[in-house]
């Protein structure tokens, strides 16, 4: 099977609608297809990977711990748009520390998250073969 560059574009807040959670379900299933996978978080989508999510009072499932498992699925290209963080008064320190282990460097733990500018994000989207927009 051909290998393509898949980019999952996450634009919406984690709660309020189901897009974020069902997007994560696609990402996890898609991981089995051995494609070149990257994730983009823009606009309110940056809240999906914010630290300290607590849905107790909402009475719905807090699915945010699942993002920490992405590294185990070899998903380690997670791009977050700087302008979206800035507009919401957030920095990378407000995000969950998503990591992956590099097999080629004796399983060294590395950061999966890379904060990029809107222009860099544009280039990343442009070079993707398949854009899944959530």
């Amino acid at each position: 099977m051909a290998t393509k560059k898949f980019m999952y574009v996450n634009r919406k807040a984690p709660y309020g609608t189901i897009y974020a959670w069902e997007s994560l379900e696609v990402i996890l299933i898609g991981a089995a297809f051995e494609q070149d996978v990257a994730l983009a978080f823009i606009d309110d989508g940056v809240y999906q990977i914010a630290k300290g999510q607590d849905t107790t009072d909402l009475g719905i499932k807090n699915f945010s711990p699942t993002y920490s498992a992405l590294g185990d699925y070899d998903i380690n290209k997670i791009y977050v748009e700087k302008e979206s963080l800035d507009a919401r008064g957030l920095t990378v320190d407000d995000l969950m520390p998503l990591k992956w282990e590099d097999e080629d460097e004796d399983w060294a733990e590395k950061d999966s998250i890379k904060v990029v500018s809107a222009d860099e994000m544009k280039a990343l989207l442009d070079e993707s073969d398949v854009l899944l927009n959530f």
């Binding site: 099977m1 051909a2 393509k4 898949f6 189901i18 897009y19 069902e22 379900e25 696609v26 299933i29 898609g30 089995a32 297809f33 494609q35 073969d129 398949v130 854009l131 899944l132 927009n133 959530f134």
Partner: protein
């Protein structure tokens, strides 16, 4: 060109499904191939045969069924999204002990892998929704 279609919104509440329907018709007319139409999120609600819109309105589920029949389209409803929202075929009825099923003609229920495959196999994956 080989096209994969993803529909993320339910019928009537959102125009995405009808826009996708018109897009598919135009694409087929222009000689393109529709590899698969994948219904996700509330988009799975396009696949119920129990929909009864007013007679002077478009019947969206039937329109998809008719198009599928005419052009042998593969209309796939995501199983996980369908289970949440009560879209059921005979297999799901049996598996989950339901007292009936409601899948419309020409639709089938399958997994998210079908969406990924559509991304891999199609020249373009076109997503309809917000």
């Amino acid at each position: 060109m080989k096209l994969g279609i993803q529909i993320n919104e339910g019928p009537y509440n959102h125009e995405a499904s009808v826009t996708a329907l018109n897009y598919c018709k135009a694409a087929i007319e222009a000689g393109h191939e529709i590899f698969r139409v994948f219904f996700y999120h509330d988009g799975v609600n396009n696949g119920t045969r129990y929909s009864t819109p007013p007679q002077d309105d478009i019947h969206i589920a039937n329109s998809w069924s008719d198009l599928a029949k005419e052009h042998n389209l593969d209309l796939v409803v995501c199983v996980a999204a369908a289970q949440r929202r009560g879209i059921v075929d005979e297999g799901e009825q049996e598996r989950n002990g339901k007292d009936g099923n409601n899948i419309a003609d020409g639709f089938r229920i399958s997994g998210l892998g079908q969406l990924i495959e559509a991304g891999i196999e199609s020249d373009r994956l076109v997503v309809f929704g917000d």
